[in-house]
């Protein structure tokens, strides 16, 4: 695998929602990143429906059907529906395939009857919890790969939220241990993704399906949610921002293995990914408050191609069922962005999204297109190793945060950041040396098995 060595965009000025340098086209002719923002709705099954394939099929028939119907009701021209597997689906690889097949039939029908353009993404659950199984050789590993095989037959896009490095991450994140984040996210996560995505891309190709992409949900999002809002004291927001910067080099591996996007919605690192690769990305922000809270609800839309709600449990609301409700909202969000494109006001509209959150907190700040691009540049300029590029990205991110006086930090957040920066400076330059150091340092962490990563 060749580590990326150049930026697709030569400046962040060129990056805009709705357009990606390398758009992709789905089975029913939907072009993602082809000039317009498309909503991506993610319904989640109710508890109890995971009992059998039959109950799941019925649940998704309704949930996905409600989303399609709502597009026709309010006039949203196109939609991507994502179903994220719950444990039981991936554990029974045939189930995901059946659900995908059923949804494909629904989409064909809506295309024929109304002219609605829809596409389907299957996201396989990564069952491999690193402290419990051998990542490369376990029943769970086989089920995950088998699920990709089954779903790729019918889905337009396949994705996963992979788990490599999670055991070390969990240990480190609550210990202010920035070296641990670099090791878990970049070194371990990156290696696991290379192993996994080489196979996923193969499977997708064989089935004429699009290999969408991955997300560092397991790590960078855990950090972001722990940092939380303005009254949480779990971890500093500045640490979460560094974890996000680190995640870019990790998530990038999917594309280096041949994935083409659209990237996964919950990968908040996607603006960085887009600046490097030019693939279309899905993002989620304010309209995913149904699934989690964040401090970058608008800015994260600045360069999106798909706009998602992350996940909403199926239930009745006054206006309709929840997937219909969130489809309507996402579609209107997209309509306003697309109107700005038609009017030639997209730059102004983007500036409003950015200004909403640029100084709301570290995450909103570092994910602004200009900063995302700069962090991306640090990634490609330091492509000696997974480790080197992650460390460079994190340090660049830290420099940016410390260097902008409009970004207010509490004394505590700032001191923490300064100490992470010092820690990073003192780390070895070479990946081999860093790995040696970490294998020693973390050898007693419960369940850490270097062989899972070929180490």
């Amino acid at each position: 695998m060749q580590l990326s060595n150049s930026m697709t965009y030569s400046s962040s000025e060129e990056m805009m929602f709705g357009t990606a340098r390398k758009p992709v086209v789905t089975k029913r002719g939907l072009k993602i990143g082809g000039g317009y923002v498309i909503p991506e709705i993610v319904p989640h099954p109710r508890p109890g429906s995971e009992k059998s394939m039959k109950t799941l099929l019925r649940e998704f028939e309704r949930a996905n059907g409600d989303a399609l119907e709502r597009c026709v009701i309010v006039g949203h021209p196109c939609i991507v529906v994502e179903n994220e597997h719950v444990f039981q689906i991936t554990h029974n690889p045939g189930w995901g395939g059946e659900i995908a097949a059923q949804t494909a039939r629904q989409m064909d029908e809506y295309l024929e009857r109304y002219g609605l353009k829809a596409a389907y993404r299957s996201t396989i659950a990564d069952l491999r919890k690193p402290d419990m199984v051998n990542m490369r050789d376990s029943d769970y590993t086989r089920e995950v790969l088998e699920s990709f095989n089954e779903c790729a037959k019918y889905a337009d896009i396949v994705s996963i939220e992979s788990m490599g490095g999670k055991e070390i991450f969990d240990y480190s994140i609550i210990r202010n241990d920035i070296a641990g984040l670099l090791f878990s996210q970049a070194v371990l996560g990156g290696r696991d993704m290379e192993w996994l995505w080489t196979q996923i891309v193969e499977i997708a190709k064989k089935n004429g399906c699009i290999a969408g992409g991955d997300t560092d949900c397991a790590q960078a999002n855990t950090a972001m949610f722990m940092a939380g809002g303005f009254i949480s004291k779990d971890i500093p927001h500045t640490l979460a921002a560094l974890s996000r910067a680190i995640s870019a080099g990790r998530t990038l591996v999917a594309y280096e293995c041949g994935a083409t996007g659209p990237g996964k919605d919950c990968a908040y690192e996607n603006p960085i990914i887009k600046s490097i690769t030019g693939v279309p990305i899905s993002t989620e922000g304010k309209t995913s408050a149904c699934a989690h809270s964040d401090l970058c609800g608008n800015v994260i839309a600045a360069v999106c191609d798909l706009w998602s709600n992350e996940a909403v449990e199926y239930h009745n609301m006054f206006g309709a069922t929840s997937p219909a409700v969130f489809t309507e909202i996402l579609g209107y969000d997209a309509a306003a962005m697309n109107a700005s494109i038609e009017l030639g006001y997209q730059k102004e509209f983007q500036a409003c999204l950015v200004t909403s959150d640029r100084y709301r907190g570290p995450h909103g700040f570092m994910l602004c297109p200009d900063n995302a691009w700069i962090i991306g540049k640090a990634v490609v300029d330091n492509n000696e190793s997974l480790y080197a590029r992650a460390r460079a990205a994190a340090m660049k991110c830290g420099d940016l945060m410390l260097g902008d006086s409009q970004l207010k930090l509490t004394a505590f957040e700032k001191e923490s950041l300064q100490s992470y920066m010092k820690d990073m400076e003192s780390l070895p330059d070479k990946e081999e040396d860093f790995i040696d150091m970490c294998l020693k340092k973390y050898n007693k962490v419960k369940g850490f098995n270097p062989a899972s990563y070929g180490l």
Partner: protein, 249 residues
């Protein structure tokens, strides 16, 4: 200000994509006078209808006017509605017209025509959202059923009482609030207790299929337009379980 002329990436006018070609109502009678009666109904012309029906009754019996003019006219209206050509108000106005025509015939006959059967309708206790029920009433009327209209905000016992008295083939309930729809299972339980095994069709914004099919007798009504078809099934002695299997699931 100038608005973009290509809006296809902002919204799609699916209503125009699926616009149904206009259709004329079909001819229902070779008799000029009866066809005129039917036309009045099809066009919902409640001013003309009086003259036209009176004119027809000069040469036809009232029952002929009803059965070969008014009702076939209304059937055409139903067909056009089913096919998406007609909108609700056209159906209602046609129904008003037909009913006005029938009244004239009944006057002449000196007795009312027989209705197909009785249906009791109501909106749940505490709930004044009765537009859904109003539509259901009109459509049932138009299809020849006798509607026992209990109105809005109807206590549970009043619904049960009406069923005891009228022995309808079907009872309907409308509720638009989650705080009022809880009356439905209570009604169903009391009906069962009294051995009044009547299909109980429940609809309205708040009411989900899941909820209605969680209690005996309950059948979920998604659209008011289903009401006549459901009543026909009940008339044909379909049980509530058969009706639920057909209309829900």
């Amino acid at each position: 200000m100038e608005y973009p002329t290509d809006t296809s990436n902002i919204f799609t006018r699916f209503d125009i994509n699926i616009e149904v070609a206009r259709q004329e109502a079909r001819k229902v009678s070779d008799d000029v006078l009866l066809q005129k009666v039917a036309n009045c109904v099809v066009e919902g012309d409640d001013e003309e209808i009086e003259d036209v029906v009176k004119e027809a009754m000069k040469t036809k019996s009232p029952m002929e006017v009803i059965n070969e003019g008014l009702i076939p006219g209304m059937n055409e209206v139903s067909r056009l509605w089913d096919e998406g050509v007609y909108f609700l108000p056209q159906v209602i106005v046609s129904s008003d017209t037909m009913i006005a025509g029938i009244s004239l015939c009944e006057e002449k006959m000196g007795k009312p025509v027989e209705k197909k059967a009785k249906v009791v309708t109501h909106t749940a206790e505490g709930d004044i959202h009765d537009i859904g029920q109003v539509i259901v009433n009109a459509l049932l009327n138009a299809s020849g059923f006798e509607v026992i209209n209990l109105g809005a905000d109807v206590p549970v016992d009043e619904v049960v009482e009406a069923c005891k008295i009228h022995k309808p083939i079907m009872v309907t309930g409308t509720a638009l609030m989650t705080t009022t729809m809880t009356a439905f299972p209570k009604i169903a339980a009391k009906l069962k207790q009294l051995n009044l095994i009547i299909p109980f069709v429940c609809g309205g914004g708040a009411v989900s299929e899941e909820y209605v099919t969680s209690f005996d007798l309950g059948i979920w009504g998604k659209e008011a337009s289903q009401a006549p078809g459901m009543a026909e099934d009940a008339l044909n002695k379909a049980s509530w379980t058969e009706m639920r299997a057909k209309w829900n699931g």
